[in-house]
Amino acid sequence: MASVGDYIRGSQIWKSIFRHPAPVDRRNRIVVMLTNFFLHLHPVSIKQQGIALSYTWCMGGITFFLFLAETVTGVLLMFYYRPTLEHAFNDILALRDVTTLGIMREMHRWGAHAMVITVWLHMYRVFLTGSYKPPREFNWVVGVLLLVLTLLLSFTGYLLPWDQLAIWAITVGSNMARATPFLGHEGPGFQLLNIGGFDLITNGSDARFILLGGRFVGEMTLNRFYILHCVAIPLVVAILIAIHFWRIRKDGGISQPL
């Protein structure tokens, strides 16, 4: 067995991919971190506390893992699901009743709930270790943006099964937008935005209308939420996560006592 492994690792194909021998000695353990695309997110060496589970709780890492898991299962779901009033509910139904090993929806849903919880716990830990203090202030702000986007991802996804649970949860949630000060047609101050006696803010032009693409949760809402959920928000989250990780390195790695 060992010789087969050695043969593979000595082959030209292997070397062309990994560019160096297996990381079994100190030199190659350093080199692997520098030359591998996925590993170069990390530094080469790190203080022990930075990777102690009882210090970081691994919650940022698990949140990132869940984001990746959601991406994979989400892409698989997109193969089955069509975001129209005609198909949405039936596609989900078929996914449950017809598809072999159809646990993608379960994994996606439970992964989303778990991600909300882990992102809260990650923030909790970062607060409790005081890791938002200089020089990491800005990374905390990036984190808060990630927190909001995580919640919005979950919220927009909630609508897609198009069952009673979905539309009423979204209806209740988005009704708030009606009351946005100045920009909602039942919000304080909307009357001030009028020209010559004509209200600019009506139920056909207010914040809620923009969110839903209509006066109530309907087909345009489904379309809007689908695009936000599958394209727009994940893209922004991916970029922000990249910034978040890059800043961790630039801010001197995981926080520790001076």
Partner: protein, 445 residues
């Protein structure tokens, strides 16, 4: 006994798994005590006997030898009635706040492993026994609510872990020893230590997710219908804290202003916390104020309100005990009074100022402002004058260190956070509805 019929054999079988979990937990605990400290053999024997009892309960449930009618291991009626009797938002909020204070106060006691273990056992037992109740199962057993129950345990565990590490570090500081994080903090190579930790973590997470997905089907209700409104209509669970605020505030506050303030406040934290201590290690003593404020916001206000909104709010957003059937005809008398009504009708004994019919815009505005003057002044004073009083008294040091602008931002954020418990108290004590009530402008506070 009518109430027995709700226990079906599959439910009893399911309870068996919970008892099995408890058994395994306590066998492990017994073994752990015996291994680490041979002098604690009496204690170990006690835990061993307890584990034996649990094993018997497990077997009784899993072998299905008891028919539902003859099933006795259930939550005693008297406890159920006692819990439902004190089911009320006031008691709930006071209880969670008291629990929070107790945990902080008694942290040295609470971080002991035996104490934590007993508490864990009690809470799992409570959950297991409660599962024998039909109404409890209806709400806690909803697939979407399963993560929330586990979140409770997880948040509890990490809060415990935090206090353990913080108390340890505070004692180290007091004794002049290095912090826990400073000991054993050599540089090590990321390959293999971190890379393998991550790999194992990923495998474990994948397994958990797959098993969870196999065991618990995702909910799917009837196809969407724009005419059949479910009662209660609930937002997704992570927003139920905000939905709960609707009881005390109008949507523009509960749904827009306060959530925005939460986010702005979170982002502002690094820029208003001037305390340089406690960066990169766990501590309580060195940053008491920051920790207490954040924890109060996160535990009783955020998590606590989500639990309340999820498990205790039923039809018409009425409050229900955990064992109480959700009766959509339950009546709750709502005769709340505005501050302006208190002022004009009760204190002054006159009528509400109302503009004469057909009067112009300006006159109407004048009447509205006169009607609500006290509330408007109170709100203005709350946001503009309280910070000054705070700066001159309890927060004197903060004010000097922070400077004017930073202090105003800080104190206003704090006041917005405090506005929720304040509004709750006013509602419960004086049945106060709105401090400022101007429905004409959708401006109610």
């Amino acid at each position: 006994m009518g109430h027995n019929s709700d226990l079906t054999p599959p439910v009893i079988f399911g309870l068996g798994w919970l008892y099995l979990l408890l058994t395994v937990m306590n066998v492990w605990w017994t073994a752990r005590i015996m291994r680490t400290d041979p002098h604690r053999d009496k204690e170990a024997a006690g835990w061993g006997m307890y584990a034996g009892l649990l094993l018997m309960a497990t077997l009784a449930h899993l072998t299905g030898s008891s028919t539902p009618e003859h099933f006795h291991l259930r939550m005693p009626q008297i406890i159920q009635q006692a819990i439902d009797w004190c089911a009320d938002p006031k008691i709930y909020f006071a209880g969670t706040t008291a629990l929070f204070i107790a945990v902080v106060w008694l942290r040295k006691w609470f971080i002991q492993e035996t104490v934590a273990w007993v508490l864990l056992n009690l809470s799992v037992l409570f959950l297991t026994l409660s599962m024998t109740d039909y109404d409890f199962r209806q709400i806690v057993g909803k697939p979407d609510n399963v993560p929330i129950v586990s979140m409770l345990f997880i948040v509890g565990f990490f809060t415990w872990l935090y206090f353990k590490r913080a108390v340890d570090n505070d004692e180290r500081r007091a004794a002049g020893r290095p912090l826990f994080e400073q000991e054993k903090n050599e540089k090590i190579l990321v390959w293999p230590d971190l890379v393998y930790t991550e790999l194992i973590c990923m495998v474990v997470c994948t397994v958990v997710l797959v098993v969870w997905a196999l065991l618990l089907p995702a909910p799917l209700e009837e196809p969407a219908s724009a005419v059949q409104t479910p009662n209660p209509s609930k937002a997704p669970w992570y927003f139920l804290g905000l939905q709960e605020m609707l009881v005390y505030f109008d949507p523009w506050m509960a749904g827009v202003v306060l959530p925005s303030m939460i986010l702005v406040g979170l982002m502002a934290i690094p820029y208003i916390d001037f305390n340089k201590l406690g960066n990169g290690y766990y501590t309580f003593n060195e940053r008491k104020f920051a920790i207490l404020t954040f924890m109060f916001g996160f535990l009783p206000l955020w998590i606590g309100m989500i639990i309340l909104g999820t498990f205790l709010r039923g039809p018409n957003w009425n409050f229900f005990g955990i064992y109480e059937p959700w009766d959509s005809h339950k009546l709750e008398v709502l005769n709340n009074v505005n501050l302006s009504e208190y002022f004009w009708l009760i204190w002054c004994g006159s009528k509400m100022p109302t503009a004469p019919a057909g009067s112009d815009q300006l006159t109407q505005t004048g009447y509205i402002l006169t009607r609500e003057w006290l509330g408007l002044v109170a709100c203005f004073a709350y946001l503009a004058i309280t910070p000054m009083i705070l700066a001159a008294t309890v927060f004197k040091k903060f004010f000097i260190k922070m400077g004017f602008i930073r202090f105003m931002v800080f104190s206003n954020l704090l006041l917005f956070m405090a506005s929720l418990p304040i509004k709750m108290l006013l509602r419960w004590m004086f049945r106060l509805k709105y401090i400022v009530g101007i429905p004409e402008w959708f401006f109610n506070i």
